[in-house]
């Protein structure tokens, strides 16, 4: 029996009797981050990083029982030593380190190693078995530097402003939207408006001390408000909805790792794609796997088979783990934007 194993309700630690990011309600759930496919409703008790507690509460509702621990703070769960370490994915995202009788496992959840001003940087944790995502597990995925991407976003906004258009920028409501707003905080871009699903999470980020560009809630503006020249940040699911009509002439952009591929951008039918991802790209993924020193690698959601084959050919014991996590999907947004808040 391995220390962690895939059970019906999720990734399970029998020795400690707890689950990591279970997809069905359980007694004890350790949560890597607050995205909907990792943090599901209905479990009795949740354990998360202190940094994640705010967004997790917004996501799970005020009734959830959440215990927050600091990064690196080890706790004992039925004799198993559990600690959370920064994953660099979104605010509060964590890798779960599980140690029992000298054996160390790390479940990384979703992670990236690039710097991101909205969350604590990824921390490398040495382990025997590393459980990694593979959302962008192909060598075609290599991320450009953030500065290049934000320069492109600014230039796009400026050109739209000069043509009297609003710039409608899509990014996932939790994480990507705030990373965009943080990156544009000193960029002299704006005014900046947001969709309700984004604005609600902005509060949690600001509360956690993350500096974002000043934003206004778009639906709170009076009827007939002129949005020309502004930047609007919204979840991808808002594309093509009635909500978009109020902005008049617009140019649309989408910030996602998928935008590295031209066909993905064209399928989305957006004018511009900006390559900005909260997941590791191929070179960072391989470098991370190597640096953990893991002799065994489990590969979850994403492009699993090629990564497993690549690692196996290099002498690492690797296998596919059929989790129900989705990472960032090309076809559907991970989260459904919530009801719009009343301003």
């Amino acid at each position: 029996m391995t220390l962690l194993r895939l059970a019906e309700r999720g990734l399970y630690c029998e020795a400690g009797d707890f689950y990591i990011d279970p997809w069905q309600p359980v007694e004890r759930a350790v949560i890597t981050h607050a995205h909907g496919d990792h943090a599901r409703w209905g479990s009795e008790r949740y354990l998360s990083s202190r940094e994640a507690a705010g967004v997790l509460r917004t996501r799970l509702g005020s009734g959830a029982t959440i215990r927050a621990v600091d990064y690196g703070e080890a706790i004992d769960v039925n004799g198993v030593r559990v600690s959370l370490h920064p994953a660099g994915h979104i605010l509060g995202s964590a890798q779960v380190r599980v140690e029992h009788r000298g054996e160390v496992w790390v479940a990384s959840g979703d992670y990236k190693t690039q710097p991101d001003p909205t969350c604590t940087p990824f921390e490398l944790v040495r382990c025997h078995t590393f459980i990694t995502e593979s959302t962008f597990g192909l060598p075609i995925y290599r991320w450009p530097p953030d500065s290049e991407v934000f320069d492109a976003i600014r230039a796009w906004w400026r050109s739209n402003r000069d043509h009297g258009r609003a710039s409608l920028l899509f990014g996932y409501a939790l994480g990507k939207a705030q990373r965009l707003l943080a990156g544009l905080a000193d960029a002299d871009v704006g005014p900046v408006y947001t969709h309700g699903a984004v604005e609600r999470l902005n509060r949690d980020y600001r509360h956690a001390g993350v500096r974002l560009a000043d934003t206004q809630y778009a639906s709170g503006m009076p009827r007939g408000h002129d949005f020309a020249g502004s930047l609007i940040v919204a979840p991808p699911s808002a594309a093509g909805s009635l909500w978009v009509r109020r902005f008049g002439a617009i140019s649309t952009g989408f910030a996602s790792g998928w935008m590295r591929v031209r066909g993905a951008r064209r399928r989305r039918a957006v004018d511009r794609g900006f390559v900005l991802s909260d997941h590791v790209d191929w070179p960072s993924l391989l470098a991370t796997v190597e640096a953990t020193g893991a002799e065994r690698v489990w590969v979850t959601h994403g492009t699993r088979e090629p990564l497993v084959r690549w690692l196996s050919e290099r002498g690492i014991e690797a296998r596919v783990v059929a989790s129900q996590w989705k990472g960032e999907e090309d076809t559907d947004p991970v989260e459904v934007p919530g009801e719009e808040i009343t301003a």
């Binding site: 060598p139 290599r142 591929v261 066909g263 064209r266 039918a269 090629p306 084959r309």
Partner: protein, 526 residues
Amino acid sequence: MRRFALLFAAIDETTRTNEKVDAMAEYFRSADPADAAWAVWFLSGGRPKRLIPVRRLAGWAMEEADVPEWLFSECYDAVGDLAEAMSLLLPDRETTTDLALHQWITERLLPLGTKGEEDQRASVVQCWRELGGTERFIWNKLITGGFRVGVSQQLVVRALAKATGVAEGVIAHRLSGTWVPRAESFTSLSASETSDADVSRPYPFFLAYPLEEEIEALGSPAEWQAEWKWDGIRAQVIRRDGRTFIWSRGEELVTERFPEIAGAADFLPDGTVLDGEIMPWKDGAPLPFAQLQRRIGRKSLGGSILSDVPVVLVAYDLLELEGCDIRNEPLARRRAMLNEVITASRSTAFLPSPIVPLASWADAQAAYAGARERSAEGLMLKRSDSAYGVGRRKGGWWKWKVQPFTVDAVMIYAQAGHGRRASLHTDYTFAVWDDGVLVPFAKAYSGLTDDEIRDLDRWIRANTVEKFGPVRHVKPVHVFELGFEGIQASARHKSGVAVRFPRILRWRTDKRAEDADTLATLRAFL
């Protein structure tokens, strides 16, 4: 190259026609004529010949990117485009070069054709090291011979007209035929002198729009001329300066392939241009299109094919008479002159397109209903006072096509598409029942909405029975109504029939696989 890449990106990143035209016009105004000439050529669909086999090129890319073949294939599948997959896999550029577009073509691309394999490789790898992003993507598209831009010829013409101030019709005419991408060619596009000397040059074809409204909405039938809509090869026959040229609508010179028509054209007076349909025609009636296809495929035309499948030009229009462009004369007048020209030619290779009498719209309805029996695709309706325009314009000419044949068929195989549809399953194979077995008979790609494609893709992934390479064999569950234009007996197809232009009309979610049609239904159309 950088400017051309910016132009490509600007066109690629908008769906607004005006923005595409503005971006092109701006480029044409400011670019070096040598670059602009190549840009016009590429934007108009010109493609350099493929100088390096794709497999060889992919092999170099794998080695440069240090990626094994299996992983390269995974990447290609995910991207759906070989040129792009290579661009994304190769290491980032090492240096930058500021070579102009025409230099990339004439100094780097075209010389590849005369080099040995090792030199080719060194040269291509060097180019990869000098190019990044969109520029590298375009370069790869150029060497694989697959460069395409999302603009129509009409938009290129409009942009050139905007940039040069020369009328669209004149630009279109100057661009048609064999236009050579050289600085002088570009400069002469904008010349104010309009009597172009090139004797071979055809006029841009005028195309009809599909009739969408009720026919009565066209007004009085007295103002219209009706003809059969033939399914052949649209062509212009040109006689100028003692020489004959036959151009197909694809702007291909096909004079040699139709000696009957070319021979007859030699007796037309100089300065004559006919527009019509090349049709296989025997004993006073058309032959099926497939017969014409037999001829088209051949390099040399032996005696038997000429007697088995003779062709005529069913003439629709007269565009030039005694060296004068008469496209702006009213149709009725052009038609009268056309009849005179053909009568005077005394040739059986020219046949004025029969006019369908039109005393009332009921006549048109009756003719339309009987079109298929005449092997016609429907009716053409042209205003008697209409000019011969450029491209596809609404108003003067309408095509009224008969409804296609339809059949309900079961999807049995699916394959991912390319480009915009990469990684979505959009290429489907359909089957009908024959003695309790599903027999495949048609592939179709188009006809579903984006939402339907997405739903179906999800279903396909979850219901794959077996995979053969990129092809998925799926559970026979979904029924689709397919439409097609024609049907032929075929020994080469398992089903024994070959259908022409199959497409999906709708997803019959109301039908079960058992309710789909049978091969007997298809055979009954033969």
